[in-house]
């Protein structure tokens, strides 16, 4: 029972990581009707930047927000330079461009930082604490707390501020928003910036677990896809809940199903994607029949 509770907590922690990346995917999907295949790689590169900053002596809790800001700016830059020119084109063109971006960023990371895996510091100690009779690691709690905070901040930004309102309006109703004086194009850029920053949290949280190297996020993005699809690709809340569910499932499957371990957990992620798409394509919270053609 003890072990089960521990696995649950770990599952939620890793779920928080998936949820952050999934939320980034959902933000961009809502704004443009496309899945950003480069989201994971963008997070990875930002995490490398954080690594470089920490190596140069910056404290972890200072490097973290600095990296988020840099990621935010980078997200805006990418939208302006690479996405905007083909904004009005077919969605598949945009998807291919994000694939190109993913490849490019992966190569760039390899070029600048090399392929040797590095260990990334965690600000939380690896001790466990006794919580209600269950031994839970500080690390898991820390990840849950940080992910939770970030997700909450995004919620507040989008739902309770004017900027968030105009971003949502621009995403769902671009034409009507223009007639209200909203600078739709810049709102989309902001959306990309926000998504980039949120995704980066996922990278920074997972790096201490996985070892930092250019291919680090390749499996995480699959889990994030699963989370987004499970939650409903249009629903930010769905991304969070989907993330936690996927985290729990994958973790528990890895711990308790015979033969499932390490790399085969990824197949569980794939299975979730396929199952959802076949049985309930709109996910848990998605709306029916909003198929962006």
């Amino acid at each position: 029972m003890q072990e089960f509770a521990q696995q649950v907590v770990s599952g939620i922690a890793i779920g928080g990581i998936f949820a952050s990346l999934a939320l980034a995917l959902v933000l961009i999907y809502n704004a443009m009707g496309l899945v950003n295949f480069a989201q994971g790689e963008m997070a990875m590169l930002a995490t490398f930047v954080a690594f470089a900053l920490i190596n140069r002596g910056m404290s972890y809790w200072f490097a973290f927000p600095v990296t988020l800001v840099l990621a935010f700016v980078a997200g805006i830059a990418i939208q302006r330079l690479v996405i905007k020119p083909v904004e009005r084109g077919p969605v598949l063109t945009l998807v291919i461009i994000t694939l190109g971006l993913a490849t490019l960023i992966n190569g760039l990371a390899g070029f600048i930082f090399g392929y040797v895996p590095r260990s990334f510091p965690s600000p939380f100690s690896s001790d466990s604490i006794d919580l209600l009779g269950v031994f839970v690691s500080w690390r898991d709690l820390g990840v849950i707390a940080v992910s939770g905070l970030v997700l909450l901040a995004v919620y507040v930004l989008l739902q309770r501020t004017t900027v968030g309102l105009t971003m949502r309006a621009a995403a769902h109703h671009p034409e009507a928003s223009r007639l209200l004086g909203v600078q739709v194009s810049w709102m989309l850029a902001l959306g990309w910036g926000l998504a980039s920053a949120v995704g980066t949290v996922s990278g920074i949280m997972v790096a201490p677990i996985l070892l930092l190297e250019p291919n680090m996020m390749q499996s995480i993005i699959i889990y994030a896809f699963a989370a987004a699809v499970l939650g409903g690709i249009e629903s930010p809340l769905g991304a969070v809940i989907g993330g936690i569910l996927v985290g729990l499932t994958v973790n528990l499957a890895g711990a308790y199903l015979p033969g499932v371990g390490g790399d085969l957990q990824l197949a569980v992620g794939l299975a979730i994607i396929i199952a959802v798409l076949l049985l309930r394509p709109n996910g848990l919270f998605g709306r029916a029949a909003t198929r962006r053609v």
Binding site: T162, T166, R168, H172, H173, S177, R178, L179, L180, G181
Partner: protein
Amino acid sequence: MVSNLLELKEVHAGYGPRAVLHGVSLTVPVGGIVSLLGANGAGKTTTLRTITAGVRWSGDILFAGRSLRRMSTEDVVRAGIAHVPEGRGICTELTVDENLRLGAHLRRDGAEVQKDYDRVFEYFPVLKERRKLSASTLSGGEQQMLALARAILMRPKLMLLDEPSLGLAPIVVRAIFEIIRAINETSGVAVLLVEQNARIALDLSSTAYVLEVGRVAVSGESAQLRGDESVRRSYLGY
């Protein structure tokens, strides 16, 4: 001191190679109400769209003396023109309150915004009731009210209204037009009104233009047009 708030000078506009407007000229005086009438397809909606840069155009459009050439839709709107399009443009993914907030989001004068909110809820109490609900739950008439309320909250210098009476019961139409008149009288907002319902439009506006196949066929004071039987019969259908 510019007496004409809006001036269209020989405007040609169209979608792609097809021109819809062939040299339309009209003016809206500061604080005035002008109606734009004509049959379906005459180019009334296109005229409004042209003003807010939704359509490619040539010629010139002056707003408060300033040319609108090469300005984007958002910038034209930010200059002080509110456009309630046909179809209302309601953001159905958002709540009623959020729609209203979008109307006011560019304004910096907090106290005045609050006054306008009060006014809007006075005119349209149903919006106050349904504040927290999704805008998609509103009926057609209520959505029209929301669109108008939103436009009021923008405190524009000029309002472009595209067929505000469309699909509404006569009693609602009368109420809305009374509100438009009230807004015009109290805040001095100029109105360019596109309408199928020529009778009620001519009652409200001081001058009118009648479009036919993309050109101004007749124009003049509303009172005169109202009285002219031949104009009414050939162009206005009553």
